[in-house]
């Protein structure tokens, strides 16, 4: 047995740990396994703190916005302000609740207007713990019926899709992530093309031929072809058009405010939502066996 000099022990350990992780990466790529057990444990351990933190931060932010920001007045008003402070604090809390009620009412109206589409409201309690992916974490998971590959929206537009569902939480890949995409079309010309993220605030529409006319500000909506999102949901608006070869380079401003998400709706169906209206739309029927998205079919 060869003895390792003590000064090299840490180097050997470093090499061992790196090789171990490289092997782990290789296994994940080769078998498409995603270390689910480790992720379930970690998310299970951290999500209660995130949940508590989310409510705590929300309260502090609302108080800061509606209360402390008003402190910037002249000295002569200080005495009157002190008398009103308690009332203002109460108003602040009520305003926060009213704003939340407004948001929830918007979600409820949206749900009622799309009663045929099963969906569930969820609160955003966290984001991805790094810049390598653009994800958010929801406070609802498998126990609420959420499954991998379900679509996530707000009344403003498409948000992304569920990439991992845990018992009490789920992770959503935002539309702006490099690995994200949605079947979309231009609202006026009805030209269809997938829209995907680039890891930046703007999205890209990839396959619109140069011959097709596209206008700045034109609305982009879901086409329903991805079998995750129903037709005609807002995706965004055309923000930039450049000629390319052979396709135009079109950048889209997302309709949903993906940087400030608080509540979202999860579409509780992995089946093609478009199938219900198939007879009315005149679109070609889907290929046999394509009613479920491929990844969902694995489950």
């Amino acid at each position: 047995m060869v003895a390792i000099p003590s000064r090299h022990k840490s180097l050997v350990l470093l090499a061992g740990v790196i090789v171990l992780q490289v092997l782990m990466l290789a296994v994940q790529i080769k078998r498409d396994a995603e270390g689910r057990l480790i992720r379930v444990w970690t998310v299970g351990a951290v999500s209660p703190f995130e949940r508590a933190g989310s409510y705590g931060f929300g309260w502090i932010r609302d108080t800061w916005r509606h209360y402390f920001a008003l402190q910037n007045t002249t000295k002569e008003n200080e005495r009157i302000r002190r008398e009103n402070d308690v009332l203002k604090l109460q108003i602040t809390q009520l305003q926060g609740k009213a704003a939340e009620a407004d948001r929830l009412a918007t979600l409820l109206n949206f749900r009622q207007s799309h009663a045929d589409v099963p969906m569930i409201g969820a609160r955003v309690i966290g984001t991805g713990a790094g810049t390598a992916s653009l994800t958010i974490q929801l406070d609802r998971g498998e126990r609420d019926g959420i499954r991998k590959n379900m679509g996530v929206i707000t009344p403003d537009g498409v948000v992304g899709k569920v990439v991992e569902a845990y018992p009490n939480a789920s992770q959503v890949l935002l539309l702006t992530d490099k690995d994200s995409g949605v079947g979309a079309m231009l609202a006026d010309s009805r030209v269809q093309s997938p829209v995907g993220g680039q890891g930046e605030p703007l999205l890209v529409m990839k396959y619109v031929p140069n011959d097709d006319t596209v206008n700045l500000g034109e609305r982009v909506i879901t086409s329903g072809m991805d079998r995750i999102f129903p037709r005609d949901l807002p995706v965004g608006t055309v923000a930039e058009i450049k000629s390319g070869n052979p396709f135009k380079q079109i950048r889209i401003k997302p309709a949903a405010n993906l940087e400030r998400l608080e509540e979202v709706l999860v579409l509780l169906s992995l089946r093609s939502l478009e199938m219900k209206n198939e007879g009315n739309t005149g679109d070609p029927p889907p290929a046999p066996g394509a009613a479920n998205p491929p990844r969902a079919a694995k489950r």
């Binding site: 840490s10 350990l13 790196i18 951290v46 984001t127 790094g130 390598a132 958010i136 992770q171």
Partner: protein, 175 residues
């Protein structure tokens, strides 16, 4: 062994020990804040608190083995929380190496001065991003740009935050 030699051969660099549970709590807090803050304050997404914690404890403990193992644990936890599009090991490898480098440098140089901490953190941040890009390019075949202006700004912001964060973490040391 509570002393290490600096580059001039003088033995005055202390190895710092921390209160029980301090490293665990600081690590978990960094991960939770990293995952929670950007919802409410979008600009804070530029911070990498788990990296700052790795650097701090690496520089303070000055034991390469401890540093690299702590870096590995923090990195893997960060991978786990980043969703399935981030494979386990991406942050793990980068933070393992940063933990090793930080504790190796900490054993040779005095890293208590704020200016030294600022410079080291900025350098480690750039190195960390470089390791992630390297891993993505070589092991995952995902082309990523090596450098952009955002990285430069993020390195400076993280270094500035580190100066103050490290002062807070200094209070967790045993007297």
């Amino acid at each position: 062994m509570n002393e290490a030699f600096d580059i001039r051969g003088q033995s005055h660099i202390e190895v710092h020990k921390f209160r029980a549970g301090a490293i665990t709590i600081a690590t978990l807090l960094a991960l939770v804040i990293q995952a929670s803050f950007p919802i409410h304050f979008a600009k804070t997404a530029v911070l990498d608190l788990p990296l700052l914690v790795t650097i701090y404890f690496g520089l303070s403990r000055r034991n390469p083995s401890t540093g690299l193992l702590l870096g590995m644990v923090i990195g893997l936890l960060q991978d786990s929380l980043s969703g399935p599009t981030v494979p386990l090991g991406l942050y793990g490898i980068a933070k393992t190496i940063i933990g090793y480098l930080a504790s190796s440098i900490g054993a040779r140089l005095d890293t208590e001065h704020p200016a030294a901490r600022f410079a080291l953190t900025a350098s480690f941040f750039v190195a960390h991003q470089g390791l992630i890009v390297l891993t993505r390019r070589i092991l995952l075949a995902q082309p990523e740009p090596w450098f952009n202006m955002h990285l430069f700004v993020a390195a400076l912001v993280n270094a500035l935050v580190a100066v103050f964060l490290f002062l807070v973490l200094d209070r967790l040391r045993k007297n």
